[in-house]
């Protein structure tokens, strides 16, 4: 039975989102449960991201598949090559999107290859890294904990966020200079450089555009991807009680008035928070869709579907998990500039802080510098002071470099905040163009003051790198 792909735009407030439903999908691209790392149903849960009959990425979910735990991700050692049909579909889709077709139309053929369910598609800029400063295409050779891959983030909470880091769907051996020369040219013309399928947390698998990612990073072109996310995670939003009604008539002057108006306000404050019956809706990382906004058929598909399916080729995928591929060593080396630029891109901690914190005023920063976690009786970021400084530092680095430099210098100048000096100095290493930081580090090294003991090594590194770059 051919796949039924339907798209619909939903509007909520001033925003709109594209929903695409897939029924009778081929389930040729997706994730599936692949057993446990231990014996007899013990150990960490293992998942596979697969394309056709090939296992692509092995995702180990520790702590009994806890959604707040980061995953261990690696390229599946058994990977051989894509099914030619799927490869062609991916190539055609990116051509169609860049030829001016809408995302829904351009991705239609890919959607037919997915598991049944409701998806949202959008275009977004991606950092082609693993979220920790390594270029994504070579960062997953060994299974390791990847920061930002937890489905639920304690700092961001229930807010929506856009995944922005990548996991490759090919081993690094597939990088060739010849292909890169072609992509150097094509990346200049393209608006959408790649197609990404959301995997977990802040990470998506790049289905198409690996060479494009190399070219874009090298040539400072934003790596914009068409992103596919499955909308299947239930969410609950607690509704606060409505604001108290305004007094109908003006009351008498004096204390009596205060007492009368205070009563309804107090009653409203003490009123229990209204919790709606059941869940509010279903979400993907970047989109929350309340139940009432779902088109009827799409909602039925979500309710009668599963987050993951067991594909037809499940047995062969499982059998391939522990098979090693023959070609494991390659002479193809990524350009050094790409690796260096990847290190300069925002990392997971910065992005997480940017989503966790709405804004930070100078007054709030001054409170933090004075050693307070509260400003005007409200917790600024977190009751934990170290966490507050770290998050503030990351937030500023992501949003406002100038304020970041001022804040880091202020932190490092304050001997009472010495617990955070090392972290802040390490963060400051990325700002190699800052004269202020250069001056501060030079003075700190020259002074030989004991308060700078923890940052001397970072200061020396910064000074030498600054001199090299300038």
């Amino acid at each position: 039975m051919p796949a039924e792909v339907r798209s619909e735009v939903i509007t909520y407030g001033e925003k709109s989102a594209q929903l695409i439903s897939v029924r009778h999908g081929e389930a040729a691209i997706g994730t599936c449960f692949a057993g446990y790392t231990g014996i007899g149903g013990t150990g960490a849960v293992t998942r596979l991201f697969f394309i056709g009959g090939e296992p692509i990425s092995v995702v180990i979910c520790p702590n009994n598949d806890n959604k707040q735990s980061n995953k261990l991700i690696s390229i599946a050692p058994a990977f051989k090559n894509y099914d030619q049909k799927i490869y062609n579909v991916l190539g055609n889709s990116i051509k169609r999107i860049n030829a001016g077709e809408s995302l829904a139309n351009g991705l239609r053929d890919i959607m037919g290859l997915l598991e049944d369910g409701v998806y949202t598609v959008y275009a977004a800029d991606y950092y082609p890294t693993d979220g920790a400063g390594s270029f994504f295409w070579g960062a997953y050779n060994i299974p390791h904990e990847v920061q930002g891959t937890a489905e639920k983030n304690r700092f961001i909470g229930t807010k929506s966020f856009k995944p922005c880091f990548l996991v490759p769907s090919q081993p690094l051996e597939y990088f060739t200079k010849k292909m890169k020369t072609v992509s150097d040219e094509s990346s200049k013309r393209r608006e959408i450089q790649g197609i990404a399928y959301h995997l977990s947390g802040f990470h998506s698998v790049l289905l198409k555009g690996h060479h494009g990612a190399v070219s874009c990073l090298e040539n400072d072109i934003p790596f914009r991807c068409a992103v596919i996310e499955k909308v299947c995670e239930p969410y609950v939003e607690t509704l606060l009680p409505p604001p108290p009604p305004a007094p109908a008539a003006e009351a008498a002057e004096g204390e009596a008035e205060v007492a009368e108006t205070a009563q309804p306000v107090q009653a409203a404050q003490e009123a229990p928070v209204f919790v709606p019956e059941g869940i509010t809706g279903f979400r993907s990382p970047s989109l929350k869709v309340p139940i009432e906004l779902f088109p009827k058929e799409m909602l039925k598909l979500v309710l009668e579907g599963r987050p993951e399916y067991k594909p037809k080729q499940f047995a062969s995928l499982i059998a391939k998990i522990n098979v090693s591929r023959k070609k494991t060593v390659s002479n193809n080396i990524l350009p050094l500039a790409v690796l260096e630029k990847a290190d300069q891109l925002p990392d997971y901690e910065m992005v997480e802080s940017a989503y966790a914190v709405n804004s930070l005023s100078d007054e709030q920063l001054n409170c933090l510098l004075a050693g307070d976690v509260e400003c005007k009786g409200e917790v600024i970021i977190s009751p934990n002071f170290y966490q507050s400084i770290v998050t503030a530092c990351n937030f500023l680095q992501f949003t406002d470099t100038k304020r970041f430099v001022d804040f880091t210098i202020a932190v490092m100048e304050n001997p009472e905040l010495s617990a955070t000096h090392e972290y802040v100095a390490k963060r400051a290493l990325t700002q190699l163009s800052s004269k202020k930081l250069y001056k501060f580090f030079t003075d700190a090294v020259a002074s030989g003051d004991a308060q700078y003991e923890k940052i001397v090594n970072f200061a020396n590194t910064f000074i030498s790198r600054y001199k090299e770059t300038s």
């Binding site: 057993g35 446990y36 007899g40 149903g41 869940i279 779902f294 009668e304 599963r306």
Partner: protein, 288 residues
């Protein structure tokens, strides 16, 4: 993560116009055009699966539907399997009738290994009842002997009090009292058998999968005895979940907490494999 690919079940109660969906979430469509109320399983407080009805307490509401509302028995079996898997995951209060086969919450997803025996059969009521009664005999035998001897002694006592034992009649009294003891023991045996058969039939009625094809798997990693319509090839109950087993001529019966947890008929497997299966079971569980 066992049974993780079960297709959600839709249950339609035409009387009140409600449709329930039991799957990754529990959803209730009320009559009318309004959107459904959807609960995640951590919002579910209690589920009770009765003989004829399933009752789910979720959020601030309580919902119930009968077995008749399911499209077919496979849907009913699948809905119970989903509920039991969610019970394992979310730990809500779960009440159920006695079962012929283990709950799905006992299963784990794991590789069955190389030595694995798979068979399928519908439980034969006569055979299973016979095994059930054999088990009963196993427990009753000492009691029946005791009853026979007691009745024999009482009969002798009564005869002695009423007639008086003399040399001439003692030879008549002994067989009479022995016969009285034997007949009483036989009556007790017949009554308990009738009760046992009744209990077994009731058990069959409470477990809807009892009269449907069951997949039986025996491997070194564990075993499975599960309705074929929901079974997935890698779901097994570890041997550590069971305490001991009893072998009758037609069945292996696994025990947990001194009550039978699974009936594995030998006829489900090929004849030539039964001895190997018995070896695996004997290596994994204590035989009584």
């Amino acid at each position: 993560m066992a049974f993780h690919d079960l297709q959600p079940v839709s249950v339609n109660d035409s009387k009140n116009g409600k449709t329930y969906i039991i799957g990754n979430v529990f959803a209730v469509y009320n009559a009318g055009p309004e959107p459904p109320v959807v609960y995640t399983w951590d919002m579910v407080k209690q589920v009770s699966v009765g003989r004829r009805e399933i009752k789910i307490d979720a959020g601030r509401a309580s919902y119930s539907f009968t077995n008749k509302h399911f499209r077919d028995v496979d849907d009913n079996i699948r809905a119970i399997a989903i509920i039991e898997c969610k019970y394992k995951e979310f730990g809500f209060n779960y009440q159920h009738e006695r079962r012929m086969f283990p709950l799905k919450s006992l299963y784990n997803e794991c590789s069955p290994g190389k030595e694995v025996y798979v068979g399928e059969a519908v439980l034969d009521e006569g055979e299973t009842a016979a095994a059930f009664i054999a088990l009963l005999n196993f427990k009753l035998m000492k009691f029946l002997w005791l009853v026979a001897i007691l009745i024999m002694l009482i009969t002798i006592g009564i005869l002695h009090l009423n007639i008086g034992i003399t040399r001439s009649n003692v030879l008549y009294f002994i067989p009479i009292s022995a016969a009285a003891g034997g007949i009483t023991a036989l009556l007790v045996y017949i009554i308990t058998h009738a009760v046992a058969r009744g209990l077994f039939k009731r058990l069959c009625e409470t477990d809807i999968s009892a009269r449907h094809p069951i997949t039986f798997v025996i491997s070194r990693s564990g075993f499975a005895a599960c309705a074929s319509c929901v079974y997935e090839s890698r779901d097994l109950i570890p041997w550590s979940e069971m305490d001991y087993f009893i072998e009758s001529d037609k069945m292996f019966i696994f025990y947990k907490n001194n009550s039978p947890a699974a009936y594995i008929p030998k006829k489900a497997f090929e004849k030539k494999t039964v001895s190997s299966i018995a070896d695996i079971i004997a290596l994994s569980l204590e035989q009584r």
